[in-house]
């Protein structure tokens, strides 16, 4: 082989020669997501790993991720062959094992449990209802997605969503990233990339999407309500809470066990006070490591052929609908409480019923303070907020057990 041939062969094998247009679009899109993460600070902790995974998986010839190992629509009931993946898979395939097997999302929940104080929820258990009301978005979108008919526009055809797809899309309305990823890998793994991007984008956009809905549904008088200070919660209550919730919820919906169980274990580690070392690891090192692997792995599934489809656009729109309905029902639930308690509950805390901890609570605080500068709703809103985490994990368990 002479020198010219060698150069020619290298060039022919390089990414520049083998790149396809869809890959180029995906690379541009991942750079856009990186921009949103770095400059606009949209959920950077997750968006940056996701966008970078997306970038790596779409660069041609890297062999880092093999979509054909994970799904094959030609074969009914296709199951990934883990031996083959371990032997021939790239590094992103290996990261993705943790998502596909459902290890990473519960580990993230372990961290979420360890980082959150359930005290406000224990002090005011009524707010559990607001966490439930905000889950309406999930089920509305579940129906809505199935009602979209198959269509063909400009030669692009859309085959409609199955019930499984619809369940995975609806869960975006829970505004909970790990839950959405967990549910999507169980019900519709081929949509994972789009669902994860939609879920995390909307979580980042909570301060933009929620306030108009909250203001539209409430009057200024309602927004000005100052709530009574929460009662102090004893240590004993805080310790018994995670144990009791685990037993009750898992007995009722066993499919919710991985998420709820880990969430509560994390919280018990925090509140028990005797395993500080574990609690610190869960809150810091463990959740950080898992976040990196989860983000890159999720990004890897967004290959051009998977992501550049009409379904992605529809999923992103449906996600917004799910999220808006969830917020609206949360606020309506809050209004109901306002009336029932004769004005003791500020309806704004209802919007925090979508999980997105703690952004949604901060939004309630901010909108409340706009109406009444001396009002502090933050801790009151943390109640529905953490109830929303439990609520969306329960909803995910239900969808998995009904559909899966």
């Amino acid at each position: 082989m002479n020198f010219i041939d060698a150069i020619g062969k290298l060039l022919a094998e390089s990414g520049f020669a083998t790149m396809t247009i869809p890959q180029l679009i995906m690379i541009a899109f991942s750079c856009f997501l990186l921009y949103l993460g770095i400059v606009k600070k949209y959920e950077p902790l997750l968006l940056i790993p996701i966008a970078f995974g997306m970038l790596l998986t779409n660069l041609p010839g890297t062999q880092m991720y093999h979509p054909e190992f994970w799904s094959n629509t030609a074969i009914a009931n296709f199951k990934p062959d883990y031996m083959q993946i371990l032997q021939k898979g790239g590094i992103l395939d290996l990261f993705y094992i943790g998502i596909k097997t459902g290890i990473f999302p519960p580990l993230i929940f372990l961290g979420v449990g360890a980082m959150n104080d359930f005290g406000p929820l224990i002090a005011n258990p009524k707010t559990f209802l607001l966490g439930a009301a905000a889950q309406f978005g999930i089920f509305f979108t579940f129906i809505g997605a199935q009602l979209i008919p198959a269509f063909t526009i400009f030669g692009i055809s859309f085959a409609g969503f199955t019930a499984l797809d619809a369940g995975a899309i609806g869960i975006i309305g829970g505004a909970d990233g790990p839950t959405a990823i967990f549910t999507a890998t169980k019900l519709a793994p081929h949509l994972l990339g789009a669902i994860a991007v939609a879920a995390y984008s909307y979580m980042a956009l909570v301060p933009v999407i929620q306030p108009p809905i909250m203001k539209f549904l409430t009057t200024k008088k309602e927004r000005q309500v100052v709530m009574k200070q929460l009662r102090p919660v004893s240590k004993k209550e805080k310790i018994i809470f995670p144990i009791a919730v685990t037993i009750l919820v898992v007995l009722l919906i066993p499919a919710a066990a991985p998420l709820v169980g880990m969430l509560m274990l994390g919280n018990l580690a925090r509140e028990s006070g005797v395993i500080d070392r574990l609690s610190k690891t869960i809150q810091n090192e463990l959740i950080n490591i898992v976040t990196i692997l989860l983000g890159i792995g999720v990004g890897a599934t967004a290959t051009a052929e998977n992501f550049l489809a009409p379904t992605t656009v529809i999923i992103i729109l449906l996600g917004l609908v799910a999220f808006a309905i969830g917020t609206a029902f949360g606020v309506v639930g809050g209004k109901l409480m306002y009336w029932l308690t004769k004005g003791k509950v500020n309806p704004l805390i209802g919007s925090a019923g979508v999980s997105a901890v703690p952004m949604a609570a901060r939004v309630s605080q901010k909108v409340g303070q706009e109406a009444n500068p001396s009002n502090y709703l933050l801790m009151h809103a943390m109640g529905p907020n953490v109830a929303g985490v439990i609520g969306s994990a329960v909803a995910a368990g239900i969808l998995i057990s009904i559909l899966g």
């Binding site: 209802l129 439930a132 019930a163 009791a244 009750l248 439990i390 009904i402």
Partner: protein, 112 residues
């Protein structure tokens, strides 16, 4: 599909209501426990203290101006800036608060 959704949302509500009732009852039991153990200390709650009416004409409130003037004077004297400074507060207005809300809440909780 409709049925699945109705069943789904009902179970979500059922689960969370069940939890809510449990936590409520548990809180009651714990509260009884606490009351039995301790002699009730006299608690002055923030809600018992009459809150200051925030009327629109707050900027012309002579009493408030006097209080603010005195506070500034006292702090200037204390800081040793000027032992006999003479200041007049002509007007004041609320400025935006840029302390992170978590800090403010933490402070509130310590104060109450």
């Amino acid at each position: 599909m409709w049925l699945q959704s109705i069943v789904g949302i009902s179970v979500v509500f059922f689960a969370l209501i069940a939890l809510s009732v449990f936590i409520y009852l548990f809180g009651k039991v714990m509260a009884d426990d606490r009351e039995k153990k301790k002699v009730k200390p006299e608690i002055i709650r923030a809600s018992d203290v009459k809150s200051i009416e925030m009327d629109a004409d707050i900027e012309n409130d002579g009493e408030l101006i006097a209080v603010i003037t005195a506070a500034i004077q006292a702090s200037l004297v204390k800081a040793g800036i000027s032992p006999e400074c003479k200041i007049v507060v002509k007007s004041f207005k609320r400025i935006g608060n840029d302390t992170p809300v978590w800090n403010t809440t933490g402070r509130e909780e310590l104060l109450n």
